[in-house]
């Protein structure tokens, strides 16, 4: 194979890839270029900014934790579902995919109808004195709802790629199914879990639609960075851009930082 023959299709692919990258990166560059740099320090330490940032980080971390606890077992079930009948298998996959394709506002509305104080489950919770909407807990639920598929699909992909027969080896050494899950399955797909958790956190940080619908918007309680940024855009674009910048920096830092640090050079 000569280099000349290879470069034909490669050039097209490079050009398209460059276009795709430009589409992804240039809007962010727009934020950087139009950022009110001289005012930025003042805007960034403004109480509203710090409050929204703190709330976003707190809820993002809790949501990611919820996604891990709930999502890893779901990923295991999903990976095993290849042996099921077609209908339940596809239904399960569709159910996991729904939050990805549903407009987040609709997701938020659905959460209200389920968990609102008159919701299907919410009215029983209300009798117990628990009302979720307009609480920080509601923010976590909304974020968990929209971010869960990212974790489940990342872990499921890793499970499918992993050699599951080592689980048999573990069982033959006396490990119970839960011990196998904890000591073999989870470490085996650790890279997938790490990647999923990072995506999950980034998605939770950026969550807007489901949060504002289900949790509302109140400073310090439910007004996360994206909501604060949107509200600021109505009156003070500089403030909005400053908030967007904070969101961008945190997301990019998380995506860059966690990725390579995870594995101690232990790929099988």
């Amino acid at each position: 194979m000569t280099p000349a023959r290879r470069s034909g299709p490669a050039v097209i692919i490079w050009v398209i890839a460059a276009l795709a990258l430009a589409l992804l990166v240039l809007p962010l560059l727009g934020i950087l270029l139009s950022a009110p740099w001289p005012h930025l320090p003042a805007l960034l330490v403004a109480p509203e900014t710090l409050q929204a940032l703190g709330l976003s980080l707190l809820t993002g971390v809790i949501s990611t934790f919820c996604c891990l606890v709930l999502g890893i077992p779901l990923a295991v079930v999903l990976a095993r579902s290849v042996g099921w009948a077609v209908v339940p298998r596809r239904l399960l996959r569709a159910a996991v995919t729904v939050p990805l394709v549903l407009p987040p506002v609709v997701g938020g509305l659905a959460l209200l109808l389920l968990l609102g104080r008159n919701g299907i489950l919410g009215k029983y919770l209300a009798q117990l004195g628990i009302t979720l909407p307009f609480t920080t807990g509601a923010v976590v639920i909304a974020q968990t709802f929209v971010a869960m598929p990212f974790l489940v699909f990342a872990v499921e992909g890793a499970l499918r790629g992993a050699d599951r027969r080592v689980e048999l080896a573990a069982a033959s050494l006396g490990a119970t199914p839960f011990q196998v899950f904890r000591t073999i399955t989870v470490p085996l797909v650790a890279p997938g879990i790490a990647a999923g958790a990072v995506l999950c956190f980034a998605r939770a940080l950026g969550e807007f639609g489901a949060t504002i619908t289900f949790a509302g918007s109140y400073p310090g309680v439910t007004r996360t960075l994206p909501i604060a940024s949107y509200l600021a855009s109505q009156t003070d674009l500089n403030q909005s851009i400053a908030l967007a910048l904070v969101l961008l920096v945190v997301s990019v830092a998380v995506l860059l930082g966690l990725r390579d640090r995870w594995l101690p050079g232990v790929r099988g």
Binding site: L112, G216, T222, A232
Partner: protein, 265 residues
């Protein structure tokens, strides 16, 4: 009350003109006549309008399109401030209709209006509660009770600044559970019975019909939002845009607005 700088002079002038239109409409019963002949108008008119105008502008557009079959009105509704921001950021549109003068002023200041905006309608706030009235709200004073869950618009949107003004007039200190991005979101939260009360425009309460219950607020009449509309500099179809603008404050248009609960400015 909010100070209304710069726009005041122009607004007063148009109010005078509007009062005239209003009087002649009620007095002589003349019909609104479009200024251009129907056949000369064609194309698309893009209207960005405040969320509180959603239903009434749909009505107005339908009626206008009957008069001018070659014109299509495309409308986008949202929080007034968001719409103004979109215009300032270069969104292509022919007409902008906001829910108060302050937001329109940001567009005037940016030099993006083609003319002095016309004030053609007004709106006042009202208190709405779910039909079951779970918190037994009887007067606006009741919403100051911390146990009552209240939804307001955020202060960055017109219905929010109006709500703050009204609460100041009432000398009430209210801690809402949520500050929504537009008035329709407040109505939704009340409709779904997720909050006990909300302050919205009387027109939105009217649109929601029996899905919410209105509690009269006597002082609300003193806190008035005026609705300006303006043809934009970037308009590519000024003839049709102007015609639609004039249709809105024709007798027919004003009747539609009145039926929807809007007042005169």
């Amino acid at each position: 009350m909010n100070p209304r700088p710069a726009l005041v002079a122009a607004a007063t002038a148009t109010v005078a003109a509007l009062v005239l239109v209003g009087c002649s409409a009620s007095g002589a019963g003349s019909t609104g006549t479009p200024t251009a002949t129907p056949d000369s108008l064609k194309g698309t008119v893009t209207v960005l309008a405040a969320a509180s105008l959603t239903e009434v502008y749909r009505d107005l557009a339908t009626q206008f399109e009957k008069l001018h079959p070659n014109v299509t009105i495309t409308q986008s509704f949202g929080g007034s401030s968001a719409l103004s921001t979109q215009i300032i950021q270069g969104a292509p549109a022919d007409l902008l209709a906001t829910a108060n003068e302050a937001t329109m002023k940001t567009v005037i200041d940016a030099g993006l209006t083609d003319e002095t905006p016309i004030l053609y309608a007004s709106n006042v706030l009202t208190l709405i509660v779910p039909p079951t009235n779970p918190a037994h709200v009887a007067t606006i004073a009741d919403i100051a009770d911390p146990a009552v869950k209240v939804a307001l618009c955020d202060k960055t949107v017109p219905c929010g600044s109006a709500a703050l003004t009204l609460l100041a007039v009432e000398k009430l200190k209210v801690t809402p559970v949520t500050l929504e991005t537009d008035v329709k979101a407040v109505v939704t939260k009340v409709e779904l019975d997720e909050v006990d009360a909300g302050l919205v425009y009387v027109t939105d309460a009217q649109t929601a019909g029996s899905r919410v219950t209105q509690i009269p607020v006597p002082d609300a009449a003193n806190v008035v939002n005026r609705y300006p509309i303006a043809v934009l500099k970037g308009s590519t179809n000024k003839a049709a845009a102007t015609a639609f603008e004039q249709f809105i404050f024709s007798t027919t248009g004003l009747a539609v607005l009145k039926k929807a609960g809007f007042g005169t400015p």
